[in-house]
């Protein structure tokens, strides 16, 4: 476990030294200022609209960060040949995958924490309630979803030759699931065979990322989601992340690497 944490720390350090974190911080500040500006209109509909827009941008940017960060990890190590110095040490390829995953996931978590913290502080400064539990649920499930995405992209980076193709395919898959995931089951019922079976199989096999979208809860001040439901969603996310990481480990274990 110490080795996995050591690799994760290197991923985080790289993110900080590459200045990506500062770009993220600037984006966060701009988004929060946008959210804060709703105060001037004094119109609740406008406030909700700006909040919705703001959270949508955060969702898109968090997915972009997760996909691009995870997609380049193994490729960059191979391209820069640092992977060979690393694998010549007493660590397994599985530990490299898990360390990289942990680093990316923690980086995504740190970015989300900064955003949600800004978001809550801005809301409170406008006279709204803290709603800490609701915001925590939204943050937590958002982070779990990013864990599934990071694991999926890590597996993709060992399947596809170039990081750009991996990123593009993963973006399409993630956006497809987020937009169509909840409707696919209903659509399948109206399909003819064999398409119905195929659509239903996809519906039951794919990770339902839309489960993790609590934006409406924040925007419309809806009540808390039951904590046991949050727990089940966490387990569901951990299962899918585990499956993708397992696939990544298997693919990496048998990949020949020529120094």
């Amino acid at each position: 476990m110490k080795i996995i944490f050591a690799i994760a720390k290197i991923v985080l350090k790289e993110l900080v030294r590459r200045k990506d974190a500062y770009v993220l911080l600037i984006i966060t500040v701009l988004l929060t200022l946008l959210s804060g500006s709703a105060h001037f209109f004094g119109d609740m509909k406008m406030v909700r609209y700006v909040k919705e827009l703001c959270l949508l941008l955060v969702w898109v940017s968090s997915i972009v960060i997760a996909v691009t960060l995870a997609a380049r990890q193994i490729h960059a190590e191979r391209e820069s040949r640092t992977l060979f110095s690393l694998l010549a040490k007493p660590l397994s390829r599985n530990q490299v995958i898990l360390g990289k995953f942990l680093g990316c996931w923690l980086a995504c978590g740190a970015a989300l924490f900064v955003f949600y913290a800004f978001f809550v502080v801005t809301a409170v400064s406008r006279g709204e309630h803290w709603r800490l539990a609701e915001n925590f649920q939204a943050l937590w499930l958002h982070w779990i979803m990013l864990g599934i995405i990071v694991a999926m992209v890590m597996a993709g980076s060992l399947l596809f030759a170039a990081p750009s193709s991996n990123s593009t395919i993963c973006f399409i898959v993630v956006l497809g699931i987020l937009m169509l995931g909840r409707h696919l089951g209903k659509l399948a019922i109206h399909m003819a065979e064999p398409y119905q079976t195929v659509a239903l199989a996809i519906y039951y096999v794919m990770p339902h990322l839309e489960f993790y979208d609590l934006r409406d809860l924040i925007i419309h001040d809806w009540p808390l989601v039951k904590w046991n439901v949050v727990g089940i969603a966490t387990l569901y996310g951990a299962t899918y992340a585990g499956l993708f990481l397992g696939l990544a480990c298997i693919l990496f274990r048998y990949k020949p690497l020529n120094a």
Binding site: K2, I3, A6, K9, I10, K13, E14, R17, R18, S80, R81, T82, F84, S85, L86, L87, A88, K89, P90, L91, S92, P256, L257, N258, A259
Partner: protein, 256 residues
């Protein structure tokens, strides 16, 4: 197998499958048997494409043997624990350039599981050994090529390894850098460490190595103590090397 030897290779075959259908796989190493004994400096020689790097890749677990086996201190080379007592310096040193030498070495002490209380001491020792103390807080990307090679040597020594694998350690270094590397190798020998290194600098090999192996076309052609080989063939290592690989002036310049 005798588990006392740092490296044991038995009937090693490595074949790379062709990406094209119907084309037979390329044999990189064939029927290789090799033992490297405790405390010796062993030179692995051969022209480009002879199988030196592939052999090292198998020992480091980067490439898996098609058949046969390679062991390090009695453990299969595929086992990560086999690399606990091993240090490796690649031909071209590539490290995380966004880290300082200090941070890079600290990272590797974590990987090797060196206790926290000993990390700083060990880092100081290797930085002094490779003469990088004054630049330890600078980012590696600001280092000259020679300094980067010395960081490579420092990371290879961070775990105080009993076996060192050096892939062309003096490649691209100036005469002073070469001398420093040679001194480090000699010092390791005096400490009883085992060193396997590949090099195209045959004069250097002749000076430093106890035994050498010459590979050509993936097969072992010559194996023996440097002194004995030179006496037996009554020539220098360079002439012996050229004779073994079948070089004739003007015939195969591209393959050397």
């Amino acid at each position: 197998m005798n588990t006392n030897h740092p490296i044991e290779i038995r009937n090693l075959w490595v074949e790379y499958p062709s990406p094209k259908r119907g084309v037979p796989p390329k044999t990189a190493v064939a029927e290789l048997d090799l033992e490297i004994r405790q405390g010796e400096i062993f030179g692995l020689l051969g022209p480009n494409g002879a199988g030196k790097t592939t052999t090292m890749n198998v020992l480091l677990g980067f490439v898996h043997a098609t058949t046969g086996e390679a062991k390090i201190f009695g453990r299969t080379a595929r086992d990560p624990l086999a690399r606990q007592r091993l240090g490796y310096l690649p031909e071209l040193t590539y490290y995380y350039k966004f880290l300082t030498a200090d941070e890079l070495l600290y990272f590797y002490t974590e990987i090797f599981g060196i206790p926290k209380s000993q990390r700083e001491k060990r880092i100081n020792e290797v930085l002094q050994l490779v003469d990088l103390e004054p630049a330890r807080k600078r980012l590696i990307k600001t280092y000259s090529k020679g300094m980067q090679q010395r960081v490579g040597l420092a990371q290879a020594l961070i775990n105080n390894p009993d076996l060192l694998i050096l892939d062309e350690p003096t490649s691209g270094l100036d005469p002073v850098g070469r001398m420093q590397v040679r001194e480090v190798i000699q010092r390791l020998k005096n400490e009883g460490k085992t060193v396997l290194f590949s090099s195209h600098e045959l004069g250097e090999v002749e000076t430093v190595c106890d035994r050498v192996a010459i590979l050509a076309d993936g097969r072992l052609k010559v194996l023996g103590a440097v002194d004995a080989l030179l006496r037996e063939h009554n020539c220098g290592l360079e002439q012996l090397f050229l004779r073994v690989i079948g070089y004739q002036p003007g015939l195969h310049p591209a393959s050397i």
